[in-house]
């Protein structure tokens, strides 16, 4: 079976592309699929750190593209889950070290050995982004409920439509239910109204993410964290299952409405 290539991108930096790539890769592998996670953020590689595989890198994506090693040699196996591999980015080079054609070629080489290839896109709309979406069969846009992140996501969706890579799906990350309830943050409906694309998941803000990122243990491996559950659900939706969205209470209850009324008063 030929792999499905999915690129995770956002436009804006720091909204959770790398965390989402790591967690969705692990979640899909836990569900029994053969998964390759590819870090396309050449020069600012992070995916290896978040996945806790940094100390095992020998070769990277640029070595493969330039023919210094074979693809097999650069792929790092994650021993915590069956059939999960990482193709790390180079840290000492920049985005121009790889072309969109190289990325398509690389993914084509991997297609027969994997069910899913997840590409972690760099921030921005320049060559790194172009590299990351060139081989994509499906694009996942990640945003946070902030006006600036949503604006960038909108721009990215336009670019993806222009490249005929659409329709993209949306992940809304880092929702703070109490802020939404007080009207201090955009809610899911606000974001969807602006972006008008399919929602594939909402991830609540979760302090455990920071701990997991620092430790290099993706949060989906911790079955108590709400964010981990959210990523599990997204992985299953990507496989075509119908899973209801997490109950992140966004509407204020009576007391909160009263408090808000007094505050505005």
């Amino acid at each position: 079976m030929a792999a499905k290539v999915m690129t995770i991108t956002s436009g804006k930096g720091g909204v959770g592309k790398t965390t989402a790539t790591a967690n969705l890769s692990v979640a899909l592998a836990l569900l029994g699929h053969r998964v390759a996670a590819v870090d396309a953020d050449i020069g600012l590689r992070n995916l290896d750190v978040v996945m806790g595989l940094e100390n095992r890198i020998v070769y990277d994506i640029v070595d493969v593209a330039e023919g210094h090693c074979r693809l097999r040699q650069a792929l790092i196996r994650d021993k915590r889950v069956p059939d999960l591999f990482l193709l790390p980015a180079a840290q000492t080079r920049d985005k121009t070290a790889v072309s969109p054609e190289d990325m398509i070629e690389l993914c084509d080489q991997m297609r027969n050995d994997f069910d899913f290839i997840l590409i972690d896109s760099p921030a921005g709309i320049e060559q790194g982004f172009r590299n990351a979406i060139a081989p994509a069969d499906k694009v996942l846009i990640i945003t946070t409920p902030e006006v600036s992140a949503v604006r960038d996501a909108d721009r990215i969706i336009g670019l993806i439509e222009a490249e005929e890579k659409g329709p993209a799906s949306l992940i809304i990350n880092r929702i703070k239910p109490e802020m939404v309830r007080y009207g201090d943050m955009l809610n899911t409906a606000d974001v969807l109204e602006i972006l008008a694309i399919d929602l594939v998941g909402i991830v609540p803000d979760d302090k455990a993410i920071i701990v997991s990122t620092n430790k290099g243990v993706p949060i989906v491996l911790d079955n108590k964290a709400p964010a981990g559950l959210a990523f599990h659900n997204i992985a299953r939706r990507l496989l075509g299952e119908e899973i209801p969205f997490l109950d992140i209470r966004e509407e204020p209850n009576l007391l909160e409405r009263f408090v808000r009324f007094i505050r505005q008063g």
Binding site: R151, D152, D154, R155, I157, G158, E161, G183, I194, A196
Partner: protein, 223 residues
């Protein structure tokens, strides 16, 4: 007195040189082009000269003037045969009069002008530039732009920047089902919307220029 009129059509711009001394009309044309250069950029232009007789050299000068402002002269419309012959010498299309021939299957009474219809969500970074009227069925998101020579109608939410009457037409209007633009321009007027309460209920509105200011009113079916 205005000697030069610039109007958007479906194909491009129509520049009409009125009566009077050619040099003065050209000076005015140059001024108008400078004022709105970015809008005109790359446009195809038909030049209507009326009864005026122009030589090949004079048309060449106008063509060069337009080229300086990055617009392309493509056609000369004039009643004098000498003018049309001169234009043909420069490889330009010619027409005798402005009257567009009746289109088969069209029935029009009174004045009408041409526009373009877009059915899409206009996203941040995307831009629609059209010399005539523009109708968008869909949302115009913040960070996008619509620039039209004529009117702009958004059948959806307008959050981006729009410029109606970009050729300098203060009579142009902007309508939207939910008029909440980042910035709204009509002709040479610019307006920012007032700070709005987040809970406002969108109503269709129309913006137009009155007494030198942009005014926004509920969009009624008659005006």
């Amino acid at each position: 007195m205005t000697r030069v009129r610039i109007k958007g059509t479906r194909d491009g711009l129509l520049v009409t040189l009125g009566e009077g001394e050619l040099a003065r009309a050209l000076a005015e044309l140059e001024e108008r082009l400078n004022g709105t250069a970015s809008f005109f950029k790359g446009a195809w232009v038909a030049l209507a000269v009326g009864k005026r007789e122009l030589s090949t050299e004079e048309i060449g000068r106008i063509k060069a003037l337009l080229a300086q402002n990055e617009v392309v002269l493509g056609m000369v419309i004039g009643e004098a045969p000498a003018t049309r012959a001169a234009a043909r010498n420069l490889g330009l299309e010619t027409k005798r009069s402005l009257q567009p021939g009746p289109r088969p299957g069209w029935r029009t009474e009174g004045e009408f002008s041409e526009g373009a219809l877009f059915r899409c969500t206009l996203r941040s970074g995307q831009i629609i530039r059209h010399p005539g009227h523009v109708v968008v069925i869909g949302d115009v998101n913040a960070g996008s732009e619509v620039i039209a020579g004529g009117d702009i109608v958004i059948w959806g939410r307008l959050s981006g920047t729009v410029h109606a009457g970009a050729t300098g037409d203060d009579q142009a209007i902007v309508c939207a089902l939910d008029l909440d633009p980042t910035q709204l321009r009509i002709g040479k007027h610019i307006a920012r919307p007032p700070e709005q309460t987040p809970d406002r209920r969108p109503v269709p509105e129309m913006a137009f220029v009155q007494d030198g200011r942009i005014i926004v009113r509920a969009w009624k079916y008659s005006f």
